[in-house]
Symmetry: D2
Subunit: 368 residues, 4 copies
Amino acid sequence: MNTLGNKLRVTVFGQSHAPAIGCVVEGLPAGFAPDLERLGAFMARRAPGRNAWSTNRREDDVPEILSGLVEGRTCGAPVAAVIRNRDPHSGDYAGLKRTPRPSHADYTALVKYGESYDIRGGGQFSGRLTAPLCFAGGLALQVLEARGVTVAAHISQIEAVLDDPPDLARVGREDLEALLRRPFPVFAEESGVQMRQAIEAARLAADSVGGVIRCFALGLPAGLGEPMFGGVENRLAAALFGIPAVRGVSFGTGFAAAAMRGSAHNDPFEIDGDRVTTRTNHAGGVLGGITTGMPLVVNVAVKPTASIAREQDTVDLETRRSAKLVIHGRHDPCIVPRAVPVVEAVTAAALLDLLLESAPASSTPAFT
Amino acid sequence: MNTLGNKLRVTVFGQSHAPAIGCVVEGLPAGFAPDLERLGAFMARRAPGRNAWSTNRREDDVPEILSGLVEGRTCGAPVAAVIRNRDPHSGDYAGLKRTPRPSHADYTALVKYGESYDIRGGGQFSGRLTAPLCFAGGLALQVLEARGVTVAAHISQIEAVLDDPPDLARVGREDLEALLRRPFPVFAEESGVQMRQAIEAARLAADSVGGVIRCFALGLPAGLGEPMFGGVENRLAAALFGIPAVRGVSFGTGFAAAAMRGSAHNDPFEIDGDRVTTRTNHAGGVLGGITTGMPLVVNVAVKPTASIAREQDTVDLETRRSAKLVIHGRHDPCIVPRAVPVVEAVTAAALLDLLLESAPASSTPAFT
Amino acid sequence: MNTLGNKLRVTVFGQSHAPAIGCVVEGLPAGFAPDLERLGAFMARRAPGRNAWSTNRREDDVPEILSGLVEGRTCGAPVAAVIRNRDPHSGDYAGLKRTPRPSHADYTALVKYGESYDIRGGGQFSGRLTAPLCFAGGLALQVLEARGVTVAAHISQIEAVLDDPPDLARVGREDLEALLRRPFPVFAEESGVQMRQAIEAARLAADSVGGVIRCFALGLPAGLGEPMFGGVENRLAAALFGIPAVRGVSFGTGFAAAAMRGSAHNDPFEIDGDRVTTRTNHAGGVLGGITTGMPLVVNVAVKPTASIAREQDTVDLETRRSAKLVIHGRHDPCIVPRAVPVVEAVTAAALLDLLLESAPASSTPAFT
Amino acid sequence: MNTLGNKLRVTVFGQSHAPAIGCVVEGLPAGFAPDLERLGAFMARRAPGRNAWSTNRREDDVPEILSGLVEGRTCGAPVAAVIRNRDPHSGDYAGLKRTPRPSHADYTALVKYGESYDIRGGGQFSGRLTAPLCFAGGLALQVLEARGVTVAAHISQIEAVLDDPPDLARVGREDLEALLRRPFPVFAEESGVQMRQAIEAARLAADSVGGVIRCFALGLPAGLGEPMFGGVENRLAAALFGIPAVRGVSFGTGFAAAAMRGSAHNDPFEIDGDRVTTRTNHAGGVLGGITTGMPLVVNVAVKPTASIAREQDTVDLETRRSAKLVIHGRHDPCIVPRAVPVVEAVTAAALLDLLLESAPASSTPAFT
């Protein structure tokens, strides 16, 4: 299932070492003129080789747009984009079919697809596939912005270091815009310093670290989402677990809600001018699967990079015996910073899908 | 979207105070003879009024099966079941359209559906709708069992009390069967005692508490699930967020993976007889969206019951001013114990859907 | 796949001789007050035993509405309805598992579902399942009507007798309303007389006849439908082939277009006041899968009733030898008249689904 | 909705005059080695400019495969292919936004997408988009063939000329293979001669003609397809109406069944060795939406080419007045011959999707 969404449909294709990767984006409103320079800048945020905490693999990652745009405007047809794979070191991956890398999809993919599976560079499970996701989500972000919705994320945790948690009920558009300008998006500068130290320490130890990304969306109307299995949480979670290395998705206060009492967790309603708001926002902007109009808050847990430089235990699938594995090649000691725009992109795509799908469910005016 | 699944399709209907609630279950294999007595016993685990930590509302909740069974066997047609609503206290809910209950779906549903929304007892957002989910999931559990798959959950946290975490790589069928026999399913008896004390303390304080449920599935084949947006995590999360009050879903080590290093989080492969296993199971049985054959482990965060007995702040939607709200009626101080079978049911439905949908994706034999 | 639609979702369940049949209708706009008396009258048009050309099986077919309505208005929750099966002659169908009825689903259902298949009365393939379809479609018809869309069908052919073909570009709302008032809906009275004679002749010959139903929708906006596989034709055809005995679906001039030249088949555009219309309507109101704003015209071919009174050749599946079969019980010599409201109902459900799903695909105003 | 299918998912993109057209094919079994030369030969059957009865536009139409194949074998990742647009005469289409071509999608697309719609060459509604459909369907045909299923079509009608109708119950694999070898696929050579004369006569008259394509599939197992809205007819029709110019889809005897009596239309069951067959095949191999194991027969009505050389009436959307239109450029007087492989391709894609999705619905052995 390489397709996400109902009205905005994003279909991703490619493998790490195929001729190309890319995507088809269907359902963008016609007549929209994307800012391709900004789109490129957005995509560059996830590109490798840009800074100390990411791999040295350099890619231009410039998408060629094959359809859907005429004189810079969407024409109603799907927007297809292709990114060529230019710098593969295929040799690095020889032998992996015999000795699967722990905590990678190598083994499960071999079980599923058999000998023909393209294991080079992680094949279709490679983090590289997030580049077309960023292309599609970057377009969605611009459409959302034109409709008054801002999406931005911060790194809320790297290993044991936490970023200052913002007031989930008061986070504002300026806060998000400030995040979007930072190369290492945290609210508290000092947190960022410590997080980078934790990443560097892991790298020096031939190891890796995980983290948590918290993503916000401001400006969503109240009433978005369907009950039960069509809720905002259901759809966002189904989308976000499509990002490699994501291990958990929660909303608002998330798993910490489990340790709270109702009197502390409940968000009292308030009147703010002509809007109904809540004093706190433990709900993260969603009640019963439907948006409240408060900031949407989704938290995404990212596991430590599975590819580490030190020797690991695995098995030889041919001899059916224990084996040692040393992974060569270039690998981030922490993918969380590069995953931030991916989380923003996927969140934006899922939210735009919901917005496009949304129609007034009532034939009489509501109380709001 | 009251429908879950592709091949096993569960459609739920009803409101808390409508004449009935129920479901339609499509795609059960024909020729299957469900044990209706066991199904009833399973459904009873979520029914209210059975013990000290649940509400006093008494329901028979005996589903009437309208179709799909002939002489006790599934015939290939959808199994439809209806549960009558017998004991509603509709009067308790008058006025809620003006003063929505904090952290309930009252407000968002009013925005979405307008004045006609059926707010009585939480309407279609009521926890009561989990009864037909348990009917459907209870059938799925029996089909899974016949195929060698066992699903069971424990309460891993209530407020600050944790249950002994099991070894996610070694949890066995006997462990799960023991859980299924316990009225309060925890691994460590002492944890259960403390959890019930925490619930009782909340009740005495006119308050409520939340918790976490950890659900296991043993016996799944390796290779189940599709890449990207069709992964086991995507599909389970999309299903589990359909349960009211769920705030987070994670797999294996979940959000705790964020604080780990790769060398600790990676699960080394091992040979166990003729099977490929992993020494640890931080992955929770899924890599790249595809099952490894190790125990599937999914964690579900449940918020504290939103309905608490003490006075709360809200707004009057008519006067657009602040207001006080006292919720009458019967409400669990903690819904986690009753949510355990619901989590099992929804997990089972989603897993059976995946199993039925699954076909060999390879035309050549795999390495395993 | 007993579910039709995306935004308006109709899920049908039941077998001919199960305790009940019914449906769940999700996505009806909240706040709509259906006229249940008119709904009953609509459903009565397909009910058997009402006239000379239908079977004598009498059913009350009064649906019990279990959810989704509060004080006569839709509340946003799915509308579930149940129709009890009261008058089954199960004995009539014994032995059919050995000697499948020609041109029925008996044989294919046995292959698919095995011995457990409920063959009584045609099981889940019975025409009786069209009763809940009429319930759901009857609701859709009323919602459409409130939005200015009228749907009505005529019998355009029975055996060799044709009804006067109307001018597909000029058929008006009065024409459709007149059709809806007629117990035997044809444009030319004389055609109706001859058609009934053809049916009666078949009955006397212990035989049956087929026919064609042509269904119109007036008042649809131009621009409805998606390109390629999401077109109005794709969706209507996918829905209409769900009606038992339907063998073909075409639009506008349909298969007759194959014999025409482009100069005759092309529909020249014209200006009619402030509307763009076409002089002819061979297209049946759809170009490129998208509505033109002209009358939508869909033709549905219905095969002759498979159950005929005379002896037929079949096989004995147990002895694997040729066998003779005499079908007892009550069967219409022609189901076309009773299928007319079913075609209207399914067309209405599919069109309302398209309407609810439809959102402006353009962010700039169009030329119209 | 540019995507077809559930398990085999084909997503098509591009416009006639965009940089490229193409498709993404997801769900092909891993380890399959397509014969790319045969695929090219298959695609060439729909390419223009090859013979007297098609346009002179010459395209190489050589797809570049970007992903999904490793050393000639499918690896489990989606197969993406791109076909560059090389020979566009964009100038020919200037002004069409003001004066839409009768019976084209110009007008409806302008209503739907607004001014930004890419009208050049018919944009995304161009018949050129059937090239990637043939790529995808050509792969499906090869996979089907490896599983013993043969798909082939003949031209059963051009204007008033009919091809000899074959015995739908007896058509054999050699018949289909013979069709596949013929550049103008008919059963009776003389029919082909007359059909080409009819096409040439239309061309000389600056006009066009329509026709009917009948497509067969041999070797399908009995039991394929789901009841109601998931039947083989529903799914094939939903797919085939995605081909431009298709106006009707019917199965077996199709609309002619309307004129028959049941005694003539019913297909008596017979025993043929160890198989259950039917003496006739009016059903076209499907009963109740489920395959019988007899030849699948689907008929597709194709309208006359809308682009004709003679002057036509239309409107000027700017002045809102009547206008005359002369369409320049290259247009087939009859697209039916080139549509034959497209019908085969789409039928194959839909059938492979059904086959991949199909799992035994019974847990007990059937009678067959």
